[in-house]
Structure formats: C-alpha cells, structure tokens
Amino acid sequence: MHPQLPLPRTTRRGFLQLAAASASFGALAGLRALPAVAAEPAALGTFFDARQTGILAQIAERMIDTGDPAMPRLRDTGAIAAIDRTCRALDPALTGLLPVALLLFEWGPIVLDWRIRRFTQLSDAEKDAYLAGWMNSRFEVRRMAFFALRNLSFLGYYSQDATWPGIGYAGPLLAAPGAFS
C-alpha cells in the first residue's frame, strides 16, 4: 500500500450516480440474490468472463502485493482459477453480484471520482489508493464490496501451495487431496 497518497474522495453525488447506474448494487451488502442474467456463468464453464477475469486479476494483484520477491506473483499461480472455481461452486444467490462489483471497481474511478482512467489503467500506487478508498469508505456498500473481493483474492492466493513456505505454513498432513483410498 501507499498510504502517503491522498485517498480518493467519494462525493455523495458521485455515489448517487453509482446507485443510479446499478439499482441492485445495494444488495451486494449481503451478497444477496440478483437477476439471474447477471449470474449466468460465462462461456467455457467459467464464472467470470474474460473481461471480468482481467479486472479481477488486477484487483487481486494489488490485494496480495507482498513486496517480497520470495513470494510467488499472483500471475504465476492458479489463484484466479481457484477464485473462479469457488464462485462457480456457490449458490448464485450468494455470488451473483460479483461480476457487477468488478465492473463498478473498473469504472468507479470515472463514475465516482471523476478521473479520466478506469481502474485497470491506473498505476499501482493509484490502484492502491483507490482500493483504500473503498476499504475506508463511509458507504457500507462500498466497504462490503471491497471486502468481498479482498477475501476472494486471499482465498485464491493462499490456496496455492507455493505461497505456504513464505508464511511458514507446513501444509496439509495428507499427501494429496483425496489421498485416502
């Protein structure tokens, strides 16, 4: 993180614009049900489509930025695939708003903060400041969207065996998943 950067401010007007753009976003506070169309799994049996996956990857890159060269980079792990797998396995009533949340993260800098670039076009420092803005937002809905994506990022990253040596986790005692015969 780069706490020295000023946090992007969310104006009430900006938030209302967001609300108008997505009337159902408020439901993300509880990851509640959303229209089935938004929950429709994308092609190729994945939960997120290619565009959403690209946004998710950039968010997750910042969420798990360790600054430690000994830790694997997100892109070198199967973290994003693990997140996708997890979302696919859950009841759509719980996950349906995640694609919407990704789009709002992507367009938020323009819609909410009057910047001229989308999230994926920001520098790393700007991305971190933007994410911190969501984390510390006075709007509960934004904070909850942030934590949903934050925790999914951690789930994906720390499910990877390659991350465990760097935190001193010895890993499962079972030799491999489903090792019992």
Binding site: T86, A93, L94, F154, Y169, A170, P172, L173, P177, F180
Partner: protein
C-alpha cells in the same frame, strides 16, 4: 443407506411417522432415537454427504463444502460472520469439540423466568448421559494439549485467572489440527460418524441434497414437508414431498425460523426469528518470536472462565478461548491489503489467537430473504454487552503477553493497534468493540424459536413442540430461551434426545 439425491433422478415422495429436517447436533440425535424407538423416519439434509475421503485439509475445497455460504455468511450489515454447517452432520463436522453441559444457573433461569419447571439437571441427566456416551465425551489429556493452548494456559496461570482443560468428543485423535475442515481420520465424534450411522442402522431413510422449503399443517396438526433436491451450488432439480404426522425441525437457529416464517406456521406469539443470541466473539492475535505452528494439535483444549460467574449473575460474562486458523481464514481476519497485510501474514507460523465469547443479552433477528440460501440476519450489541466485550480485549492482551507474545495486534479494519509488552492496554478498552470496526464472529447462533411455558411469549414448549401446531417440534439451538453461556453442542443434542423420547412416549 444415505441417499445422495443428486445421484438419482426424479422427484421424491415418501411417507413416514416422522420427518426430521436437518442432520446436525439436534436432527441426527432425534432421527436416531426415533428410529431406534421403532418409528419410520425420513431425515432431510440440504447439504451434501461428505465423508473423511472428501476432507482434504485444504481450505479452498472444504469451506464451500462444509459451510453455509462458504463460510462467508454474515449479518445484513456485514459486521458479524456467522459460521454454520451445511452438510450431513451439520456444524458438528467442523466444530472444535468443546463438550459442556448446560450450566446449572442457566437451567435455573430457564425454569424460573421462562416457565420451564421440568428442566432440572436431574431431569436432563439421562439425555446428557446417552449423548455423552454416544459421542465418547472424555477429558482431554495433558499430553494432548498443544503449544497454543499451553501458551494460553501459561499466560492465564501467571495472571491468576481461573481456567481448565476441558472435555471433548474425540476418539483416537492424532492431533492433525484440521478439525474445522472436517476430520480426515474420523477421530472427531461428530454426528456424521455417530448418530447419523445409528439412525441409518435403525432404518431411517436419510436423504442428502434435500432442502425443505415449506411445512404444511391442517386443522392444527402438521401434515407434510415440501422441498427440492438441490445441487452443490443451490440450483434446484427435483421436488420432495414427505407426508408425516410428526415433523422435527432441526435446521439451526437461522434456517429453522426461516422455514417456519416461509410456511406461516407456529408464529402466533410473533417470536419466530426473534431473540437471536450470537455468542459474539472478538479476537486478538499474538505473535511469538519463534514459530509455534498453532494450527497443529487439538485447537481448543483450555478454557478461561475467570470473567463469567453465572451463580452470581446468570445474564452476563464472557469466556476466553484459544483460536487458530489456516492461511485463508487467517488472512481474512487480518486488516488491510497488499504489503501492509502481508507484513502480518508473513509471521503466520508465529501467530496465536485468543478470543472472547460473550454470554450475550442482546437480541437480533432472522427474517426470510429472497432465497432460502440467504436469510437475513440482523444483530446489534446492547451497550452493556459492548462494554463487556470491550473490556475483554484488555484481558485477552494480558494473557497473550503473559504467555510470551512479543506483540499483540487488535485487528481493527482501520488503523489496527499493535501493542508491545509494557504498553498501556487501556487503549483497547477505550477503542472498544464496535460493529464494522473490528472482525466479529458467531459460531453459536441460538434462541430464535425459543422454548417457554407461555404461548404468548415463546414458540415451543418444554419438549420442543410448537405451541401452535401439534406434531411440529423444533430440536436445535433455536429453542434455547436465553444465551447458553457455554459451548452448545452437547446441550443441543441432549434436548433433542429429550424431545425424541417425549415423542416416543406419546405412542
């Protein structure tokens, strides 16, 4: 035989003497006792039937398999994470096996303040004894106390705090430590390996992937249960109809009231879904200078009861319990993101946790949501409860430092506090515990279909039968008239045993 409905096609229509909904600490016991007593029993469980072969000790695989909402169930405001099981065996498959009876002063309150004169320790003893024998409840041995719990005990003893090594329900435990992800060795004596097989052996028909969605009554008597076959992801396949003159609802303190509300039953008092107690908990993390690998061994064996005196005041107090986690759950509880987050995550192997679990008076509510998968849970701590939990932070930090921690982190989402030995700990109490500012959790939601003698103020009577609908019983933590003030697994099972024997006695 346990039938996984996903592995067969078509709808399910059956008749039985009793339909039990839910296979956790209440439902499994009720089903087994009723089947053993000669009743034809159908047991419906919305979750899947996972067994030790499926328990991979990996969080990313087990959290979605074993927990409601993959372990991410929260109150509507996101302040409390509510952990509940969703599988054959219910929460007993992931719980940490503390085995306590209901404290006598709590039973006294239930008798004297809730019109339940029969709930004496003596009257409940036969049920407790049957349950404890079946679950092989025993004292945890000194040699089984792991590094985390030894460290916490050292801290408590240095401070002169009252505490003890508890009983548990494990047999042949090798101390792998993965209890919360399901026991890969069948050492944990959960419902999955005890009462569910007993129910099966006694002839109960057990259906997994079977979600009850409506209970119907006619002429004041329960008549049938309607539901759906649900996939792992919650999508519906076939329909279910179970005709039965007796229904035992044991879906837990969130799903049970949700189902009653959806069915429009048993709510003449207006109390269904109300009175929710959470046993809310807050945790601090301690860091040692050397790795302790707190996740190895029995996770919880020591129990600090210095701050609860139910004889003196049966309505307040809190206990302290060691806690640990694996990387994913731990990372979710560490504030921040990026490098700031990793600075604390890097020392995962040196990390220990100690939580305060509150015997709460605050009351929340469960109401139905858009989907049965997502009931709405609301809960807000009253000021006295908040004051107690805030005070607990100081005692947690003291124990961690006395036990050898070189730093303690209070995981406030914004500006976490990092304390060193000798620091003024009163800052913790001043900052306190407020919803949305620090991680709060509940593993014991309860009291949403509370038991009582007065139909105007309670949902079920002393045997768990609803005041409004004959033949409709509730047998899970929903029925506790107040917060139990102790780990609830054994009491839930004992009350379900009592309900089952009452049904059998009616002929």
């Amino acid at each position: 035989m346990i039938v996984k409905l996903l592995e067969r096609s078509g709808d399910l229509e059956v008749r039985a003497d009793v339909c039990v909904i839910g296979s956790g600490a209440g439902g499994a016991v009720a089903a087994a006792e009723l089947a053993a007593g000669g009743r034809s029993v159908v047991l419906l469980e919305q979750g899947h039937h996972w067994t030790k072969q499926d328990f991979t000790q990996r969080e990313d695989q087990m959290l979605p398999r074993l927990f409601e909402e993959a372990g991410m169930r929260q109150t509507v405001d996101g302040a409390y994470t509510v952990l509940q099981g969703r599988n054959v065996g219910g929460s007993t498959v992931h719980n940490l096996c503390y085995a306590f009876r209901a404290p006598d002063p709590i039973l006294r309150v239930w008798r004297e303040e809730h019109g339940l004169p029969d709930l004496t320790p003596e009257a409940l003893a036969p049920s407790y004894e049957r349950v404890e024998k079946t679950l092989k409840v025993k004292q945890i041995l000194e040699a089984e106390v792991n590094g985390l719990n030894r460290m916490i005990r050292t801290g408590a003893e240095k401070l002169g705090y009252s505490g003890f090594v508890t009983k548990h329900n494990r047999e042949g435990c090798i101390g792998a430590g993965y209890c919360i992800l399901g026991c890969s060795y069948d050492a944990k004596q959960s419902m999955l390996v005890t009462y569910v097989p007993r129910a099966d052996a006694a002839g109960a028909q057990i259906f997994a992937n079977a979600r009850a969605e409506r209970i119907e009554a006619e002429g004041g008597r329960v008549r049938r249960v309607l539901g759906r076959v649900v996939d792992h992801d919650g999508s519906a396949r076939g329909t279910i109809e179970v005709k039965a003159p007796v229904v035992v609802l044991s879906a837990g303190a969130v799903a049970s009231p949700d189902l009653l509300l959806r069915s429009g039953l048993a709510n003449s008092s207006g109390q269904v879904g109300r009175n929710l107690h959470l046993h809310p908990s807050v945790m601090l993390a301690g860091y040692l200078d050397e790795p302790i690998h707190a996740y190895r061994g029995i996770p919880q064996s020591y129990y600090i009861d210095e701050f609860i005196d139910l004889e003196k005041d049966p309505h307040r107090g809190y206990v302290l319990m060691p806690i640990t986690g694996f990387p994913i759950l731990t990372s979710a509880n560490i504030p921040g993101f990026g490098r700031d987050h990793f600075r604390r995550m890097r020392d995962f192997s040196k990390m220990v946790g100690l939580l305060a679990l509150l015997h709460d008076r605050s009351r929340g509510q469960v109401v139905s949501g858009d989907s049965p998968a997502k009931p709405k849970i609301t809960y807000r701590m009253e000021e006295e409860d908040r004051r107690q939990l805030s005070a607990s932070l100081v005692h947690i930090a003291k124990v961690l430092f006395a036990g050898g921690a070189s730093r303690v982190v209070a995981p406030y989402w914004k500006d976490p506090l990092e304390l060193r030995p000798g620091d003024d700990l009163s800052v913790l109490e001043r900052r306190g515990v407020r919803e949305g500012e620090i991680a709060l959790a509940s593993t014991h939601p309860q009291s949403t279909c509370k038991m009582g003698g007065d139909p105007a103020t309670s949902v079920v009577n002393g045997f768990g039968e609803t005041h409004d609908v004959r033949g409709l019983f509730v047998a899970d933590m929903s029925v506790f008239p107040t917060s139990l003030g102790a780990p609830p697994q054994i009491t839930t099972a004992a009350l379900a045993d009592r309900t089952a024997h009452h049904i059998l006695s009616r002929g």
